[in-house]
């Protein structure tokens, strides 16, 4: 039987060879004449084809005067587009077997649909109408405002959403990414059509967007259908990424109010990890897995860990609920695990185990056309093409030393925030 070290080396070599062979076979990138970046991942094993179009028009691109405008626009895009009314859009999409939907993140807005493969061209035309030709009717503003207020109430039910808002506000107090994705109740109440039109004019351009097509299609067919649907989207503007740079240094971060908290609470901590080299995002994506290895079974079960990508930063969130002293101990254990990783770095065995778990999780996403399209487009949007290619192979040689450097730099700079909120029903 080979020694564990030898076995590990063999495993890592096997991973590397798979990755080297993978992306060039399966993912094709192109740029349409108007500047729209196109990614096609042909995978005929599925009966579906998925489209995901991302625009660099997330909440992080908003001006201070209109928080929530990116999300409001994403809603309004479905209020009528091209020659279709709002209900026709839904009817047309679902009559193809698809569901046309959208989402807003801090880094962008995305519009997506997946349909049985025969309907690719029509699905592209639908998507094109919504993104390129929304009518943004004045009479739809009030209805959508009310829907968003209902969505805000729903978000306020979520402990995780409230913690995330509080933590990003601490980490990025002077930047739009530090605000709530949906905006504030007051800003939603006063949003005007012209605010939306203005934001759209600034951000929705083909050179500011990425379209990914994944699933049962051939590359040439997908390229031709995409060119037909999106070719008329007029190129405009020069500088397309309107998001100001996130400050390189963290602000002064307050202490969490552990001593004064009473009753059941939810606590969260966040560590912002500055990204400066190609491949850093991929390296950092191992962190939740490495941390779980270092937490006890009870801590691991009680704590939720996740990453959120921003331009030039990745933010690691940890949340936990319970009595204040319990939460404090859990967050303390999380921080200790981070410090240990920053001090000693992960060993090869831990890295290999973390990479296995990450591969398993990515596999569950990549098995669907929708998951693959989203991954490719979102990665490209953040201009991490090289990383995106590697992720379609789901693995990269894990770089423990680089991870250690990033972590140490982040902790040294003080990019760590912690806070706590009441467990049920936050304030209005």
């Amino acid at each position: 039987m080979p020694s564990r070290t030898v076995l590990l080396a063999v495993l890592l070599m096997a991973l590397g060879s798979c990755l080297d062979a993978l992306p060039r076979q399966s993912v094709v990138r192109d740029v349409l004449p108007n500047g729209l970046r196109l990614i096609v991942a042909a995978r005929p094993g599925t009966p579906l084809v998925a489209l995901d179009l991302w625009v660099r028009a997330g909440s992080g691109h908003e001006l201070d005067s209109h928080p929530g405008v990116a999300h409001f626009l994403e809603h309004m895009a479905f209020r009528g587009a091209g020659a279709r009314t709002s209900s026709q859009l839904d009817m047309d999409a679902e009559s193809l077997g698809g569901v046309l939907n959208a989402g807003t993140t801090r880094a962008g807005a995305h519009y997506h649909i997946s349909v049985p493969a025969a309907h690719l061209a029509e699905a592209l035309r639908l998507l094109s109408d919504v993104v390129v030709r929304p009518t943004l009717p004045e009479e739809g503003m009030e209805r959508e405002r009310q829907v968003i207020l209902d969505e805000l109430a729903r978000m306020e039910n979520s402990v995780d959403a409230r913690l995330t808002d509080a933590l990003v506000a601490q980490l990025f107090p002077n930047h739009a990414v530090g605000r709530s994705l949906l905006g504030l109740r007051q800003s939603v109440r006063v949003m005007r059509r012209e605010d939306i039109v203005s934001f759209r004019a600034r951000t929705y351009h083909p050179r500011n967007a990425v379209l990914a097509i994944a699933g049962a299609t051939d590359v040439e067919g997908a390229r031709a259908a995409a060119a037909e649907a999106f070719g008329t989207w007029a190129a405009a503007g020069e500088s397309m990424d309107a998001m100001p740079a996130i400050p390189a240094r963290p602000p002064e971060l307050p202490e969490a109010a552990w001593e004064t908290a009473r009753g059941q609470v939810a606590a969260g901590a966040a560590l912002a990890l500055p990204i400066s080299e190609p491949g850093d995002y991929d390296v950092v994506s191992l962190l939740p897995y490495l941390l779980r290895q270092r937490l006890s079974a009870g801590q691991e079960e009680a704590m939720s860990l996740r990453l959120e990508r921003l331009p030039n930063h990745e933010v690691l969130f940890a949340t936990v609920a319970g009595a204040p002293e319990t939460c404090r101990a859990q967050i303390g254990a999380w921080k200790s695990a981070l410090e240990e990783l920053a001090g000693r770095g992960p060993d090869g065995e831990d890295l290999a185990a973390a990479a296995t778990e990450r591969t398993r999780d990515r596999l569950a996403v990549l098995e669907t056309a929708e998951g693959l399209a989203r991954l490719l487009a979102e990665e490209e949007l953040l201009e991490r093409q090289a990383d995106a290619e590697r992720k379609t192979g789901a693995t990269q040689r894990p770089n423990g030393r680089r991870l250690q450097e990033i972590l140490a730099e982040s902790l040294r700079s003080g990019w760590l925030a912690a806070t706590l909120v009441p467990r049920a029903g936050g304030p209005r």
């Binding site: 076995l7 839904d90 679902e94 193809l96 729903r154 296995t356 398993r360 596999l363």
Partner: protein, 445 residues
Amino acid sequence: MSGLVLLAAILPALLAQGHQEAVCEQFTLPNGSRVVVMEEPWNPLIAIGVVVAAGVGDEGIYGGIGAVAAHASLRGTKHLPAASVARDIARAGDSVVVGREPDCLTYTAVTTRSAFADATYALCQALMHPSLDAEAVAWARGRVVRALEREGADPLATATAAFRNAAFRSAPYGGSLYGTRESLARITAEVVDQWHQAHVTSDRTTFAICGAIDAATVREILTRQLAEFTRRSRGRFEGPKDPERLLEDLTVRRQRPIHTAIVGTGFPGPGVSHSDYPAFLVLATILGGGKASGLFQAFRDEVGIGYEVGAEYPGLLAASYLVGYLELDASKLDDGGRGAKTPQLRERVRSIFARASSVPPTDAELRRAKMYLRGSLLRRTERARDRALWAAWQVGVARAAPELDAFLKTVEQVSAQQVLEAARRYLEKGVDLLILPEARGVPSP
């Protein structure tokens, strides 16, 4: 082979796979377990779905025991300590997942051809000889308690639970899949062991294998690995014995302090084994499935009220229900739900259901609903693990054909008249639902 190599090895093939029709074969093993093999030679993955037809109707006073037993069964077996089971699972791709549905326990695993026998071995041992000791049961109970807490925190889950309870009262479907804190507290290791012996039996177990493996190989491996799995249940599984519906006129439940309210109406519906099922499924989709559905259009699109708007029609074996709902900012309901707005909303929900009972759907509505169902099912079964579980559930619970196409053809054949008849049969008497935040709550009747 470790999980690391295992998963890495399949990924290039996964992206390069080409589509062909799966070859489906069904057979019964000597011990009575049913097996479905969907041979997909192009697929680098092999997914294993196992359904054990042991439902909430089998739980009696030990509500939640099925979920506890399923989780505990992967914490070590009589032949293998917990660490060995964990190692076998890791070898098989580290992807074994257990689940609880109203009519069955589910187990899924994703692996490759070379590790297939390891994966089935771990699963077979967990089915046949779980150790179910006090430590394993305590651990599993902790997981189930957390699932119960999550369910209680979700307003929509609370709404459907309230309706289930109003509809089925003390009958098995009336409670949570995870029991109650009280029922979980009375579950001991001995009780779990007895329950497992009585209900996790060979004749209630269905395997579905989906991927690059042929039926003869599967038959040989499972026959060998399940040779000791000979215990049988006392009778054929029929779902809960008493699914009789005891509908009340109104249910108002208080919730933990949250910011949203749910207004809805619920009706009884046919179970999946009933001949009305396909027509009712199309009806439910016309009313509340998707953004072009009647409810979504009437509320979110035309009025601009409600973020989550739709209908829920779960696939239950013996009898089911349809709940139409909208979730909105609770502050919009005047006077804590006692003012005029609530009955107006409720009346509008009811009018959408009433219309379905008076006129047949248009051709466009019918076509949209069928295509929506088709697309939804294709998405739901896009991953091999989901296809396997679907096939196992179809055969083991619904006693229907395992092929997706067979189900889609049944849906395709539903006529507008059948939809109208289904609406008239089931939508006669509804139950109004109102879920309010605690601070604004009206005391429960």
